[in-house]
C-alpha cells in the first residue's frame, strides 16, 4: 500500500498542494481526472500483472488507497 500511496501523492497528484491519506476519498473534490484514472489503472495493472477490466472500475473497489490496495494486490 505504501508504494501505491507514494505513486498517488508524488506522481499522480504531483501538481496538487493537497496530499491524500490511505483513507482519503480519492474521487471527491475532482482530485482524479479522466487522464489520472487511466494512469492509476495502468500503474495497478503493471504492479498486479493483470489487466483490469472496465467493469471492475467501480467505487466499491476504488474509494480510497486502502480499498484499491485490498482489491488489486501486488503480484
Amino acid at each position: 500500500m505504501e508504494i501505491l500511496l507514494k505513486f498517488v501523492n508524488e506522481d499522480l497528484l504531483a501538481d496538487s498542494q493537497e496530499k491524500v491519506a490511505p483513507d482519503t476519498a480519492l474521487f471527491d473534490e475532482g482530485r482524479i481526472d479522466s487522464l489520472k484514472i487511466l494512469r492509476l489503472i495502468a500503474f495497478l495493472e503493471v504492479r498486479s500483472g493483470k489487466k483490469i477490466p472496465d467493469e471492475l472500475v467501480v467505487m466499491d473497489r476504488f474509494r480510497t488507497i486502502e480499498t484499491i490496495a485490498k482489491n488489486f494486490p501486488d503480484r
Binding site: D33, S34, I37, I41, V57, V58, M59
Partner: protein, 272 residues
Amino acid sequence: MNILNSRASTVPHHDFLISHDGLLSPGPAETRLIHVLRSRFREMALAAGAEERQFPTVIAEEILDRSEYFQSFPQFASAVNSPNKTGKYFLSPAVCYHCYQLLMNSALAGDTLLTCEGRCFRAESTNDCHLWEFTMTEVVFLGENGFVRAQCDAWKQRIARWAAHLGLTVNLAPAKDPFFVGETRGKKLLQQIKGLKYELTAPGVSGKDIPVASFNLHERFFTSRFAVTLTGGEPAYSGCVAFGIERWCMALLAQHGVNEALRRVEESHDLR
C-alpha cells in the same frame, strides 16, 4: 434521404416506419402517442417548478466545442449551412447545451430548474432504437451540489414510479456507453466510478433493452466551461434528466400495442 425508401415497419401491426437513414414517419395513432408523451413529460417538468425554454434546432459549433462534444462524439455531429455563411452550425445533438450557453458568464440567483424540448440529431449507425432525428425533453438543474444530486435522485424515483404506473417493465442501471475511445475512456471510467450517469431502459421491439431516459450529474464540467457560478463566485454544479420520446413510444408499443399504450399514457398523471 429518400423517405420512400423505407424498410417495412419494425413494430408488428404498427405504423412506425423508420427509413434507412434513421428518420421516423409514425402513423396517426403513433403520432398521437408521441404528442401525449411529450405533454406528460412537459407537465411533470413544469410541476417540478422548471422554467420552460425553447431553443433553435441548430447549435453553434462554438457551444459544442466548449462542451467538448467533438472530443467525445466526433462521429455523431451533423453540420448544416447557415444563411449568412458567417459561422459553423450543427444540428443539435442534445437540448441542454443551449441552457449552459444561455447562462454563460452569469451567477445563479439560486437553485435553478430549466426544461426544454427539441429535435435532436445524432449520426449514429441507425437501427431499431438509434434514430438520426429524435425528440428529446430535458430538465436541467443547476445550483449547489446537494440540490443537483437531490433533483437527480427525485427524477429517478418519479420516472420509475410513472413507468410502473404505465405497466412498463423498466430497469435503472449505471450507463454503459461503448463509444468512448482514447482519453474519453478515462471519462467513461470516471463517470462509471462516480455513478454520474444512469439509464432507464425498457424492452424494445426486438426484446432487447433500449435506453428511454438518462439521469446525469455533470459536477462542474459544464459550469466551469461556461462560467456559471453560485452567488459566491465558485462554479455551480449541474445535472440533467433526458427523455427520448420516440424510445418511450417504441417501448410502449412493444409492451402494450398502440391503443392500450395511448389509453395508459392519456390516463396517467404525475406521481411525485
